[in-house]
């Protein structure tokens, strides 16, 4: 049975991206007499290269054994649910960062940064001991205002 290895997933994703972007190049202004090469040529060349490389990558997964593919270590396959459980911390951190980007313009730099630091430190350090909470709050409450002061008053950069 065919399995979706990392290399196959990468090659298929790249081929899909190439297809979408190649279609999109039709919306780019066509060449004119004073711009004989047009604006679409360079991305089209790159998309062609990416498509060829992706096809080679895909073909390699069928003809070269995983042991010989130095760049794709053979690891036990996991179900999606098991993979999400295994990578829960990293995925949660991505989620927290997305939330942080969302909150920055809504509630401003200081509250958003404090919220991001406290929650992400709690996620990574844990919340089971008093010492961890002290580290968490000390780092968050010191760094968030310090960065604000440096950007706002030393570098004259406005923060949201």
């Amino acid at each position: 049975m065919l399995t979706l290895t990392k290399d196959r997933a990468l090659a298929l994703a790249m081929l899909a991206l190439t297809g979408i972007l190649l279609a999109e190049t039709r919306n780019i202004a066509p060449p004119t007499s004073w711009q004989p090469y047009g604006s679409a040529l360079f991305p089209q060349i790159l998309l062609g290269i990416i498509a060829v490389l992706s096809l080679l990558l895909l073909l390699r997964t069928f003809f070269v054994s995983p042991a010989d593919r130095k760049d794709e270590p053979d690891r036990p396959r996991r179900s999606l649910a098991a993979w999400i459980r295994h990578n829960g911390t990293v995925l949660s951190l991505f989620g927290l960062f997305g939330l942080y980007a969302l909150l920055l313009p809504l509630i401003g730099y200081l509250p958003a940064t404090l919220a991001f630091l406290v929650t992400s430190l709690a996620l990574l350090l844990g919340i089971d001991t008093r010492r961890k909470w002290i580290i968490n709050l000390t780092v968050s409450c010191t760094l968030a205002p310090l960065v604000y002061v440096i950007f706002r008053f030393v570098l004259n950069v406005w923060l949201p």
Binding site: A29, L53, F116, L117, L124
Partner: protein, 505 residues
């Protein structure tokens, strides 16, 4: 030469710039000494702080981080047995055993002294060869520059740990990223109807997103899979100055050879400190009268490793300044700093901005002096700081990345760009795609397109790329680098297969 250097020295010698170099060096050492943080990450974190500075101040701060970063790896290498940066892996071979033997101060002192000399020798190489290469490359026309960029990208892709196909794919993807937004003819590309995409992607959030997220999340995964990697250490260190002077006196040739190897390797695209410290350690062993003692905690190994990885600092500036082609990741970011300040690295930089070039020389030299003082006086503190857990570091660095991206244009869209490319970088890293060619592609994409079409506008035939000798040479080297990389991969596979067969026999 003397005139612009004196002017540069006067600008770098002001208290505010000296303070910035000190801050840069301190931050660089701290960044380099924390395992998994790396010099590149230290540079990325400091980069946004240069936005509001004048070019000399910004570049001096960054050079400080660069010099400090390459020497910082020794701290955790000696104290914890974990290299702070990949460029100090071989420092651990002799530094850690020496520290385990009860001489951590001696190991650190030798490493710092070797780093100092290595940096100074590499500055001399830069001062001599930088202008030479720049004046030679003044003859480069668009055909040669296009071919040179293609060569640099294929070389970096080919050196991507046996992942040639993915390295080339990453380089092409990096180039493609730069095609979003208005192009040279003021035509829109790939905006998908979003106004914000009209201006294209800013280089900084793209670079930070791709590199920082994959690196930081990778560190967390490593910690999850191997909790033992976070170990403690005795940070009580005293530096035996007299003994170190005696040690260094016996290592003159080794120091010089390793520094020259580091400078040369630093000047080659796609290599950097990691290759430099392996090659120079290997050479020191070959030239040694007692090669069997390498790895047991002898000064020779520490000197070879630290002199070479620090010498990369000056060497790496040669192609970046003279050709506008960064050889590795830290240099790609350094080039981003220069572009951000309105300076285009390349042969013309030596004519148009000689004072800034001089400021880089001066900052490197002053940075080396500041580095040696900081390391010797504060090494105990750096050792303590290197124990900061990743769990604390990761959220703080992510926050700094977000604020740095925002501060670039006071634009929240850049934070979303950072996030999107963070996800992309992480996924590509999980798929074992090398990220250095991708970032180099992002840095060089606009120039490649500009030069390619300038060449075609001057001479419509594509064959001109092959009829001009230098352009043809660079393209031939690009093809050769791909073939060599394929050959190397085959050789490694054969060796692995032979190893597996002999194990099974």
């Amino acid at each position: 030469m003397a005139d612009f250097f004196l002017q540069a020295l006067a600008q770098v010698g002001t208290p505010s710039v000296l303070l910035l170099i000190l801050i840069g060096v301190l931050f660089g050492i701290i960044g380099g000494s924390i395992p998994g943080f790396t010099v590149t990450m230290a540079i990325l974190v400091v980069f946004p702080f240069t936005f509001a500075m004048d070019p000399v101040s910004g570049v001096s701060l960054m050079v400080g981080v660069f010099v400090g970063g390459y020497s910082g790896g020794i701290v955790s290498g000696v104290m914890l047995g974990i290299p702070g940066t990949p460029s100090s892996i071989t420092t651990v071979y002799d530094g850690y055993p020496m520290a385990q033997r009860g001489e951590p101060g001696r190991a650190l002192g030798i490493g710092v002294a070797a780093s100092f000399i290595g940096t100074l020798i590499s500055v001399a190489v830069l001062v001599y060869f930088g202008p030479l290469l720049a004046s030679f490359s003044m003859n480069f026309r668009p055909w040669e520059i296009t071919a040179l960029i293609i060569f640099a990208l294929t070389l970096v892709a080919g050196l991507s740990h046996g992942a040639l196909l993915k390295g080339l794919l990453a380089a092409a993807l990096g180039l493609l990223i730069t095609t979003v937004g208005y192009d040279r003819n003021s035509n829109l590309r790939f905006d998908f109807g979003f106004d914000a995409l009209g201006a294209g992607f800013e280089m900084l959030p793209v670079m930070i997103g791709i590199f920082a997220f994959s690196q930081l999340m990778g560190n967390l995964e490593k910690l999850r899979d191997d909790p033992q990697s976070a170990k403690g250490a005795n940070t009580n260190v005293a530096i035996p100055y007299t003994l170190i002077l005696r040690d260094m006196a016996g290592q003159k040739l080794n120091t010089l050879r390793s520094s020259l190897i580091g400078s040369l390797i630093g000047a080659l695209p796609g290599t950097g400190g990691t290759v430099a410290n392996f090659v120079s350690y290997d050479q020191a062993k070959k030239f040694s009268r007692h090669p069997e003692r390498f790895g047991t905690g002898i000064p020779d190994g520490i000197v070879a490793s630290e002199a070479s990885n620090s010498a990369v600092a000056g060497g790496a500036f040669v192609p970046t300044l003279a050709l506008g082609i960064p050889g590795d990741l830290p240099m790609a970011i350094m080039m981003g700093v220069l572009i951000l300040h309105g300076i285009t690295p390349g042969p013309l930089m030596f004519e148009q901005n000689p004072v800034l070039v001089g400021a880089i020389y001066a900052s490197l030299m002053i940075g080396a002096v500041v580095m040696v003082l900081c390391q010797l006086l504060l090494v105990r503190w750096f050792a303590k700081i290197s124990l900061i857990p990743q769990q604390v570091l990761v959220p703080v660095v992510l926050m700094l990345c977000a604020i740095g991206s925002y501060a670039l244009n006071n634009n929240l869209f850049d934070v979303w760009v950072l996030f999107a490319f963070g996800i992309l970088g992480y996924l590509l890293w999980k798929a074992s795609v090398p990220l250095t060619p991708l970032i180099l592609g992002v840095v060089l994409g606009n120039n490649l397109e500009r030069q390619l079409f300038r060449a075609l506008e001057l001479e419509s035939s594509w064959l001109t790329f092959l009829t001009r000798p230098l352009s043809a040479l660079f393209l031939a080297l690009a093809v050769a680098s791909v073939i060599f990389s394929l050959y190397q991969n085959r050789k490694i596979q054969r060796l692995q297969a032979d190893g597996a067969t002999s194990r099974n026999a």
